[in-house]
């Protein structure tokens, strides 16, 4: 017995195959019948890509963004799989929308196919539920804020607060929101969808295709063909075209994109998904008193009309000409949705604030993902990725406590930036201690007790600069120059005011270790001690505000600045 025969005896697969593929297509195969198959194909593709995504996705508020960023930027073809899944959802909305439009035009919802139509409406709702639950899962800014607004509409209805708490699982978005949305998205909705599609396909077996209106029964019977291979071939071509278009679009767009991690403290101009845009535009156009009503009623009215359709239009005539009122109504509805969608995108494109906000969001997203790729995301969660930036803590402290006096036009102290305590900086200082970039804005700089300009030949100045520079502990010091500088220092007017060893106070600051870690740490802690500025000190004492670790981080930051250029500074925040 052949292998196939053995298998057929035990499974009956040959008969199953025939039953599956030899259904007669009344009136002959046609490309007009492919949309349902395309929808089923796209659903299967979503299931496949979704399963692949779940190999890497972690549904927790602290992990979700990091896992998706890893998938996008590290995993081979991760961006592509996620892009297919993301755009595949849009393709499903489009394919099902076209399918339903065709059913409307061809009168396919009429007796005896009412159940099939209702299942189609239900499938549309399920697909929207998939899209809305899936939107939040990456836990990025776009999905987070859009979901907040969607749930806000729910919360604003009577009794909506309870519904909101049930949907978002608690009093605010968090871990439980994600586990809930994830469970719905990957288990509950697929199970319901699978059951629905199965019933819908069985109904199709029972009723067959909806043939074009106006064809006679005898002609239809005469032209009938089996599903295999005539219709199967057309279905396969259509699926392949849909897949090709989806792949092309995914490659063209570079995938789904991933925004910066969800951050309730960051500003973000939330926008809904493209298929919600018409509703979004509509609620912005109606008077604000009825806005919430319109937002909730418009989808209900639209959905209700679809459900009622087979009950309202019950006549047997499927010719669109005899149902012109319905066709006109549907055309107006589709045209209105399209017009509102276009208006919404146009309004945003014409709003400079919005465009600027989008650009800023895109920049933040690139930065967050670059940091995630380079350093990983701390276990504290998505937004903690910013703390992995070089000198993050020091720069945060600097911005909060130091920049006000040491940067910008309003500063009161010496300017501090790239090159601080480098040779050029020291040279500039010796040439003009009370220059604007140095002590010019301090009380000391304006007083009689300010340091005088160092009188020296260019060669002597080089030697003095090298001596001061050597105190920073930099590795690239010229010892011969330092020795000459030391001689100049000790035998000239410098030594009248400055010690340069130990911790003894002098009338000017003691220069020992000036610009080293230890020196900068102590200086920021308290610049008013005797060996630094003593009574001349104008800088606040930071020893109480900042711990030893923070002081040291600030000192390390200042030392990094010494050898840095403005370009280096730019590169820290790409």
């Amino acid at each position: 017995m052949s292998m196939r025969g053995w298998l057929d005896d035990r499974t009956g697969y040959r008969r199953a195959w025939r039953v599956a593929l030899e259904q007669p297509v009344l009136g002959g195969a046609s490309f007009a019948y492919v949309m349902g198959s395309v929808v089923v194909f796209l659903l299967a593709l979503q299931a496949t890509t979704g399963a692949l995504l779940s190999f890497y996705y972690s549904p927790s508020a602290t992990d979700a963004w990091a896992s998706v960023a890893y998938l996008e930027d590290e995993v081979t073809l991760g961006w592509f799989i996620r892009g297919l899944h993301h755009h595949g959802a849009s393709a499903l909305v489009i394919a099902l929308g076209l399918h339903m439009l065709q059913v409307i035009v061809w009168g396919g919802y009429k007796k005896p196919r009412e159940m099939s139509w209702w299942l189609g409406v239900l499938l549309l709702l399920l697909i929207l539920a998939f899209a809305l639950t899936g939107d939040l899962l990456p836990w990025d800014q776009g999905g987070y804020w859009a979901s907040k607004v969607r749930i806000g509409y729910v919360a604003a209805t009577p009794g909506g607060a309870q519904v909101q708490a049930g949907v978002q699982a608690g009093n605010d978005f968090g871990n439980l929101t994600l586990t809930r949305f994830h469970a719905l998205h990957v288990l509950v909705l697929p199970a319901v969808t699978l059951a629905l599609v199965a019933v819908r396909m069985l109904l199709h077996r029972k009723h067959g295709v909806t043939t074009r209106w106006g064809r006679g029964a005898a002609e239809l019977t005469r032209a009938t063909q089996p599903y295999w291979p005539h219709q199967a071939f057309r279905d396969a071509i259509s699926m392949a075209l849909a897949l090709a278009a989806l792949i092309a679009w995914t490659v063209h767009t570079g995938g789904a994109g991933l925004g910066a991690p969800a951050d309730p403290s960051a500003s973000f101009d939330a926008r809904p998904a493209w298929f919600e845009r018409s509703l979004f535009q509509l609620v912005r156009m109606v008077p604000s008193s009825v806005e919430a009503l319109v937002a909730l009623l418009a989808p209900l009215v639209g959905g209700g009309a679809l459900i009622m359709l087979p009950l309202i239009d019950r006549g047997p005539d499927r010719s669109p000409r005899r149902r012109a009122w319905l066709i006109a109504l549907v055309a107006a509805g589709v045209g209105g949705i399209a017009a509102l969608t276009v208006m919404s995108y146009r309004a945003d494109a014409a709003d400079p604030d919005f465009v600027q906000g989008q650009a800023a969001s895109a920049k933040l997203a690139r930065r967050a993902r670059a940091l995630a790729k380079e350093h990983g995301v701390p276990a504290a969660g998505g937004t903690a990725v910013y703390t992995t930036a070089p000198f993050y803590r020091a720069r945060t402290l600097w911005a909060a406590s130091c920049a006000g006096c040491h940067e910008g036009d309003e500063r009161k102290g010496p300017a501090i930036g790239p090159g601080y305590n480098g040779r050029a900086w020291i040279r500039g200082f010796l040439q003009a201690p009370s220059g604007d970039a140095y002590f010019g804005r301090t009380k000391l700089g304006k007083s009689d007790e300010a340091m005088p300009v160092a009188e020296a030949t260019p060669a002597e100045l080089d030697d003095l600069v090298e001596l001061i520079y050597a105190e920073t502990g930099a590795a690239d010091v010229d010892p011969a120059r330092v020795a000459r500088g030391a001689a100049l220092f000790d035998n000239g007017p410098c030594a009248d005011c400055h010690e340069r060893t130990g911790v003894e106070p002098s009338s000017g600051p003691n220069l020992a270790g000036r610009g080293s870690i230890a020196h900068l740490t102590a200086l920021v802690a308290d610049a008013g001690v005797a060996r630094f500025f003593g009574a001349h000190d104008e800088m606040p004492r930071f020893a109480d505000e900042l711990g030893p670790a923070d002081l040291r981080m600030l000192a390390e930051w200042l030392i990094w600045l010494r050898d840095a250029t403005p370009d280096d500074l730019q590169r820290l925040d790409p």
Partner: protein, 148 residues
């Protein structure tokens, strides 16, 4: 059978699943504030989110200003309409929501748009030269101001 299953799924309703340390959050230096509102992120020292405890978690943001009398005022940056992040239009001197175009005066009072109430004020306390703000996430929608 059905009732326990429903109670399992509905467990989070009415529970405070996400909670932050209750103390006021150190927000900004008093000196940094003027009559023009400044946007300040509010970072909780710790947050309990169901099973996880995390430190330094951004909770939200406040618009903070100091009036001519030296009084500090803070407003939640969450739009009371539907929860988008409110921006401040310096030219017009008013707050605007980027989502549904609600507008609010610098005082937080509602000017126009779909929001049914003004911006939600947040309690502030000045300690030394630091301004501390107590974060509350109010329920969005409606004219009544209730913590969510």
């Amino acid at each position: 059978m059905l009732l326990p299953a429903a109670r399992y799924v509905l467990y989070p309703i009415g529970r405070r699943t996400v909670t932050a340390a209750a103390e006021p959050i150190d927000a900004i230096a008093l000196d940094a504030l003027g009559p023009i509102p400044t946007r300040v992120p509010l970072i909780a020292r710790s947050v309990r989110d169901a099973w996880s405890a995390t430190v330094d978690v951004p909770l939200g943001a406040a618009w903070v200003r100091r009036d001519a009398q030296g009084q500090v005022h803070a407003l939640s940056a969450v739009c009371p309409h539907l929860g988008c992040a409110i921006g401040f239009d310096g030219g017009a001197g008013e707050y605007r929501c980027p989502c549904h175009e609600s507008a609010f005066a610098a005082s937080g009072d509602r000017l126009r748009g779909p929001s049914e109430r003004g911006l939600d004020p947040l309690a502030t306390v000045v300690e030394g030269d630091r301004v501390k703000i107590t974060w509350v996430r109010y329920r969005v929608g409606g004219a009544a101001r209730e913590p969510s």
